[in-house]
Every structure is written in C-alpha cells, then in structure tokens.
Symmetry: C2
C-alpha cells in the first residue's frame, strides 16, 4: 500500500465552502488506478484542505485546535523560494542533478522500455523537490512519537483474527481482492498458524491540516512501504545542498532531521533474518516483473550484503509459485534456497495477482515458517476499512491499554465513517466537498469527490444499498499550499505544492520479546497543487525531505 | 589526447608475418576521427601484436626480452572466464549493473539527446569489463615506477622551448592544429612568460607485448587525461564483486591494486589551487559543449568541494572567450570570478577550436597567471612527434641525468621513427604489417596500417616528399588476447579482448619546490579483439581494472 500504489488529485485551497466537523475534520482522497508501467511510488494520497474557517452546523474541535495552537510554531513556508535569483537557481539545480546521478538517487525512465527490468539502463534522476519543505518541529515530534504506538497497534490488531474477519466481512462481499486476502487469512486461522517472529516495516502517512494545525493520518501502510531507500538519499542531497548554498539561502542543513530510512529498514530486515536463525537462508524481495523504482529496493539489498553478508533474491509472485516449495518443517524453498524473510514490494494490489498462480504463491509464503513482511494479518490490519474501524469509539481500547497512547493516536485520526452512519451520509450529501468516498478495495481505483459524492450517495440511497456499497467516507484534509521548486526529468519547475509526511516504523518481535519497535526515518512527498483535477494524472509528485521550523 | 580523443582498431593475433625489430619492436596504431557525439573517452589507441616469434632480417632485443622473461610471471588470463556458469554470470552482471547505478558509475547515453548537456537525464551505466583483467605484478610495478620519471621528463621538456619548436617545426608545416599551438607557445617565449606553478595530470598508456613480455608505452597524455573519476569507481566495483563472488570464481579482491585516481587527481588540483593562494578563486574545468563523460569530471568537482571547499566552474572555450578577461596582474577572470587553476578537459583536438574564438580563449588562458593543467608547453610535450623525438638516441639524456631512470624509460619505448629514416621506411615497405603510420596531427584522424602503409610510403617516395609528410612510423604492439566479459548498455557479451593500462601521474611544482610527483591511480581499458578492422568502429571498449598475477 502507500505511495507505491495510490495516487490522488490535488484540490485548490480556494473554496466557497465554510464549515468543519464534529468528531474530527473530514478527509477526502482520490485514488487512481495503479499503472505498472510508471513509477507508481511517487504518487501519493493527497488531501487538500479547501476551508475550515467558518463553522457551519458543526463546531470545530476547539479544545484540540487550541492545544496545538499554543504548542506549534506557525507553519512557515520556505522564505520566498520562488524569488531565488535565476542564476543561483540554475547552479543549485545543476548541482542537485549531478549529485543525484553520482549518488544513486535514480529511477528507471519510463520512456525507456528496458528500464523497469534491466538495471543500469534508462536511468534518470529521481523527481525531487530542489529544497526541503518546511515542517513544524512540534508536528514532526508528534509524528515520531506515534510510531511505536502504531507499530504495537498493528501487531495487536493482527493477532485478533476475529476482529479482522468481522470488520472486513462487508468489504469481502464488495471487493474480490480483500476477499482473497481474507480467504488466506481464514485458512491460517483454521490451521492455527502462529507467526512467532513478526516483522512490520510500516509507513504512516500524515498531512498537516492548514486551518486546524492538526497532524492527520492519511493512511497506514503495512505492506510494500516504498522509498525507504531513496528517501534517505534525498535527505542527504538536501543536506549537501544546504551545506553548499545554505548561507546564501538563509537555511541551515542542521534543520533537516537525520534520515537513515534505507539503512535502518535494512538493519531491521537483517535482525529478522538473524531471528530466523538459518545462516544459509536468504531474504526474498517479492517484486513486480517491471519495477522502475528498483533502486529504492536495491539500496536495502546492498546494505544487507555489505553490512550483514545477508543475501537477497528477487522473485515475482509467479516465480515464487513456479520455484517455491514448502519443506515438511515449514521452510520455504525458492529455487532451492531457504528463505528466512519474505519482504513484499509487490502483492499489495490486485494487479499483482493476474491469475491463480500469484494467489497460490501468496498462500505458499503464508503457510511457510519464513518471516513475512508483512504477514497476511499485518497486511489486512493496514486496510482502509480497518483504519476506519479503529477510528470508531472504543475500538482502540480493545487493543491498547495506555490511555495516553490511545489519546495520541486518536488525535491524529481524520474523520472516517462507514456508510451505515446515516448522519454522516446526510452531511456528506449536504456538503460533499468536505468528504471523499474511498473505495474499500485496495491497490487502486478512483475515489469519488466533489459533487459526485452527493450524486453517488443519493443514487445508492435510492437503490437501497448504501450500507453494502464498498465505500467508506473520509474527511478531506486541506494541507498548506506553499511555493516549491520541482525538478523532474532534468527540468526545473516552480509551482505551489502540498506535502505528505510518511514516517517509517519498524517492529520486530520473536514470541514475547520485542526486538525492534522504532521509528525508521521518514519520507516527504510533495506534489504540485492545482485546481485542475485532470492535471493530477500527470503525477507531478516528487521526493522531498523536511526542514524543521 | 589519450582515450578522450583517440581510438584504434584491433588486429588479430594470427598472422603469417614473422619477424621482429632491432632497436625496439614495431608499433602500429590507428586513430579514427573523434566524434563529439559519442563517449569518446573509452576509445583507446590499441596495438595488437600479430607476431614476433621468428626473426627475419632483424634481430630481437634478446637481452631485454631475456631480462623480462626471468622477472615476469607468465601473463595469465582469468581462468576460463567464458566458462562461468550462466546462472552465476547473470547474477554477477545484475549485481554489477545495480552497483554501477547506485555508485555513480554512469555516463550519458548517446541515444538520449540531452544526456551530454543536462546532468541527471539519459544516464546509463559505464561500459565495463565484468571482472578485472589479469596483469603481471612485475609489469604493474614497472609501470608505477615510471610515473615519477615521466612526470619529471615532461616538466623538463616543457622548459626547453627551443627543443619543442625545433622538434615540431616540420609538424607545424603539415598540421594546422599543432601550428596554432606552436604559435601560442612562440608568443609565450617572446613574452618570456614563466610558469612558476606547473601542474601536470598525465596518463601514460601502456600495452604488454605478448611475445617479448615488454611493457611498451603507447602514448603519454599530458592534456585532458580522462577517466580518473570513473576508473576509481570501476576498481571499487570489481573489488566489491570479488568480495561477493571471489570464492566461487577463485579470485581474491586483494589482488586488485588500490585505485584512488579520482580523489588523488582532485587532491592535486586542490594543492595547485592552494599554491595559487587566492582563497576566493575557483578551479575552471574547460569542457566541451556536449560531454557524455561529464560524471567522470564531476567526481573530481565533488571531491574538491566536499574535501577542500574549492569551487569549480565549467566553461567551454567559447564561453571563456566571451566571459574571460585578464587583469593587469595577470589574474584570469571568467564571468567575474578569479581562476586559480584551469583544468582542460577540452582543447586537445582541432574539433574543440572551430573558430578564432576558441584560439583566443586558449591564448587568454596561457597569458594569465592561472595554473594551467596543462600549459601550452606541457601540451606540446605530450605530442606524438615529441614522443618520437624522445625515442631517438641521446635525446633523453638532454633532459634526464640519472642513467637508471633513462634506461627505465627507454625500456618502455616502442619503436618510433620519423620518415626521414630511410632504413625504416624501406623496412616498412617490406613488412607493412609490423608498422603503423601515425599522422602527426593530434586529436583524431585515421592511422594507416597494413598494406596501405606500403602503398602510402611508395607513393610519397615517388612524389619526393616522404620526409615532409605529416606522419611518423610506429612499431605495432601486439598485446595478449584473452577472454573477457563485456557489459555495455545492460547487455553482457563474451569476447576476446586486448587491454591497455594507463597510469595516472601528477606533478606539481612551485618554482624550485616539487610539491607532488606521484602516481595517481590507474585506468585499464579493454577492447574487443577482432580480425575485422571495420568492426572496430563499433568502439567496443570498456572500463576495466587489473588483477595482479
């Protein structure tokens, strides 16, 4: 899930709508179908906040807003970044492009056919923001503080098979993909399959709501969280540029938080490999047949080999089916090699399962003793429907004991409702611009927003099956829009942007022993802000890092 | 000069010719016109030794051969490298391509138009040999030992303006490019211009003659010696691959000599910058307008900035003319910036001087107080004609005092003759396959070899102007042919190859103080061996490193 397979439109900040929401603000996002021939990974679920200045019908969560307003410095944008002298700008861009080329900040160029299958050809610098985006330190700290709680939460949710099955029972009917995942999950429950070593490499994505100054979670990715490899390098690029140009720009590289997302992720994979305790076993990266973001993944493999002498192999789902077998002790052999850890960088979207072959591969992996990153339970725990269920009153309490932790988590929840909430459905019909209808199915598919929300809800009501429809309602988040300099395909482009901050989290436990429960670096993605929804399809999103203010 | 602007055909090792030469073996090389739209830098002057087994007319230099035969281990090729298991081979190739992409071992792809002007786009891994080529340790040591002597020799030759002018007087008539360089040189002599700080970043290129086991110099590049940046990385790639696969291949990464060619070159540039003693001055890299080998150069710039906080600027000859000016104290200003060191990575070929503009730029630089790498004198000292003059009896003695040094240098000289040597002209007509006619003009142009040597010489004799023709005669060197695995554009290709070893040398002095006189890493280039001369134009030459045997 996550950036690797969801992308979203941007909405303007201008709006004539003026009201906000009771329990939590209202979130809208739009997914578009994943396209395997593009760098999927730089798309992201964006939520833009059109308005929330003048409550209408619904009061603001004033106490919370107030709390943050006292804590938080104002969300500054980079001081007139668009005003940088053109000659200086050209130099910085040139240096950034050279730096990227020399330091492996690269992706496969989609205009070069072989670039998704053969490394070393058709390389192009990763799309980047030239300079890091401003982010308030308080919110940064808040996001970091949430990591270990979410890690723990996912683990606990994953152990509650009944909760997962029940919560997703309606989704099962409406979405074949979730249904197939649930089938595997059911089989594991029937087998009483225990995952003693549990590994999560998650990424929790947030947006900062402009008006309320609330850090709101967009989604929690528990499978195939991409960009740990490249994000680390983007932060180094930005640090390097500020070391060089910081003085003239009035910026200090020390304000970019250290980001070792790639190395730390690899470290945790190595620890999981160690726990598995078979020195001759490998780590298997499950990949798509074409992957233009392969270097992001390769950075982890290189670290694993150089620092830990751990070998990685790369296999598609189809190859796993063809070459995989289970030994009687549960060992997964693929192409004759024992697999200690299965690291999914594919398998999160229906597109990755074009035939029964791939489903057989997923089942095979799940049945094995290999450490799965993620297991089917972890995967399901990261679905939008579960996100929505967890947002319901008293659900978090089922999994977490510490009241403070619960409060912290709840504070970052955007509004999430199922369609059986009649009040919300009525409100969404009245003010569709403040909501988004998200299909429950994972891995792509368009969200519904704007007046289409109203139309769709009205139609579903008439048809009498609002509750069964495969949608949830989410609050639309409206993040700050600020000037940015995008660099893509060697071309520099000034525009206004919105950003989404992803915090990587790693969780590893072996039976009762929690070995890792840590933050693991971060990913900032920045996307052009545009009133033209159609323009979004151009996918002008770039890798970024943050500059604490 | 050097790899950056000369390339050459390969000849087969099979031959019906069987005789060798008296003073030194006979060398043949072939230049083809430089093509600005290609990566020129991986072409090299190759000399393949067809035969030298059965003396005919001319005796072998037996004492020297014998001396080497007792010293040198046999020139082993990598143990049946073509026999590597295909699956293993695929893995190594894949890893090599990934490694190259992540570690900046890249060039601009000539199929992408912008790749020579805009960094970060149209990147492709550098063409490489998959594994390092065997090279005898004794010859390696011999080549290293020669560095400081050649460095000193160039410096001394450069100070003898009369020698340069006289030696090149005939070339001046025949070659306009050399003539223009000599004009600038004359002006400097007239001005009594002194270069107190003298900087050379040379590369002496050698081939190992298969039959005689002699290390023979192909050429000495005193301007624009390319690949210091990437060569260092190729050696690291090879070390890394052997760390990973050495056991199964029976190879030990420690047998690859350490190669810090890029960093060391940058260090010496930084030292020259320090000697110039203007903290606000920059190092100017003189570049071609299109340069697909730009990353090779950028590696040096990055080192200069990161380690020494020295700024580099990149300017074409035309830009230098447009933006450059001399201050009354001799300071060179370009675009308003004082230039401490001018590092030429262009200007070595007539193609770089399409108009008077570029010649004006070269003169401007030469008149300035900036440290030139190289000065016009250093440039001229590296011409083929001077190489040939130095090979004449008693000429080295004019510049070097130490008899041992002279003997060492002479030992690596291939046969080099001017066309006024009637005996050699006669021998070349009799046995043209053992010679090559090299045009004296620098920077491109086809060599003449095979039966065309005979035809051309006979024609020139009839016309009565053999001596004035702009050619020299060189011994053709026939290096070992050994199996290699080429990787180019993501494609692996097994073939037989010949190699040329370049040793980088750095020389820096300020008045009487020699600050640096060192070896500075190395460059191994390997090219497919082919009996089809036309096939050479495909330019299948790759970056390589060496494996000591």
């Amino acid at each position: 899930m996550g950036s690797a397979h969801s992308s979203c439109s941007l909405l303007t900040t201008s709006s004539t709508q003026h009201f906000c929401f009771p329990q939590s603000p209202i979130c809208v996002s739009k997914l578009r179908p994943a396209n395997q021939n593009q760098i999927r990974s730089i798309k992201f679920t964006s939520h833009s906040f059109r308005c929330c200045s003048s409550p209408q019908n619904l009061p603001l969560r004033c106490n919370q807003v107030g709390e943050f307003e006292t804590q938080v410095k104002s969300f500054k944008t980079m001081a007139d970044i668009h005003g940088i002298d053109q000659e200086l700008l050209n130099k910085i861009v040139y240096d950034a492009l050279v730096w990227s080329s020399l330091h492996g900040l690269v992706v496969g160029d989609k205009s070069v056919k072989r670039s998704g299958t053969i490394p070393g050809v058709g390389l192009v610098h990763s799309p980047i923001a030239l300079l890091p985006g401003s982010f308030p330190e308080t919110h940064w700290k808040q996001a970091c503080e949430l990591v270990s709680i979410f890690n723990e939460l996912v683990d606990r949710v994953s152990l509650d098979g009944k909760f997962l099955q029940e919560s997703l029972s309606r989704t099962k009917k409406a979405d074949d993909f979730t249904s197939r995942l649930l089938d595997i999950h059911s089989k594991m429950l029937q087998m009483d399959k225990k995952e003693e070593i549990r590994l999560g490499l998650h990424r929790s994505d947030y947006m900062l709501d402009e008006k309320t100054k609330l850090l709101l979670q967009v989604e929690l990715n528990t499978i195939s969280s991409s960009f740990a490899g490249l994000s680390q390098i983007v932060s180094k690029l930005h640090s390097d540029l500020l070391d060089q140009y910081g003085e003239v720009l009035g910026l200090d590289s020390r304000m970019i938080p250290e980001n070792n997302s790639g190395n730390q992720s690899a470290e945790v994979l190595a620890k999981a490999w160690t726990e598995y305790n078979n020195p001759s076993a490998v780590i298997m990266i499950v990949v798509q047949a074409e992957e233009r973001n392969m270097y992001d993944q390769h950075w982890l493999s290189v670290h694993l080999r150089k620092r830990h002498n751990v070998k990685t192999i790369r296999k598609t789902m189809a190859e796993i089916d063809r070459e995989g077998e289970l030994q009687s002790d549960g060992t997964l052999l693929v192409d004759g090699q024992a697999v200690a850890v299965v690291y999914f960088r594919a398998g999160y979207t229906p597109i990755d399962y074009p035939s029964e072959t791939e489903w057989a591969a997923r089942l095979l992996v799940e049945q094995s003793s290999a450490v799965k990153c993620p297991s089917i339970s972890y995967h399901l725990a990261g679905t939008k429907k579960i996100q929505q269920e967890l947002a319901k009153p008293n659900v978090l309490e089922r999994f977490l004991d510490n009241k403070e932790d619960i409060a912290k988590i709840r504070r970052c929840f955007a509004g999430l409702w199922s369609l059986d909430d009649k009040d919300i459905v009525r409100k969404a019909i009245e003010a569709p611009d403040l909501f988004v209808m998200k299909p429950q199915r994972e891995g792509g598919g368009n969200n519904i927003y704007g007046d289409d929300v109203r139309k769709t809800l009205v139609r579903l009501q008439k048809e009498g099956n609002v509750e069964d429809a495969a949608y949830i309602l989410m609050q639309r988040i409206f993040p700050s829009v600020y000037p940015t300099i995008f660099v893509r395909d060697g071309i520099c482009h000034k525009d206004h942007a919105i950003s989404e901050l992803g915090i990587f989290g790693a969780y590893l436990r072996n039976k009762d022993k929690v070995i890792v429960n840590d933050q693991c670096g971060y990913l900032m993605r920045t996307k052009v802000s545009s009133s033209n929804e159609g323009g979004v399809a151009a996918g002008f999103a770039v890798l970024d890092s943050i500059y604490l203010t």
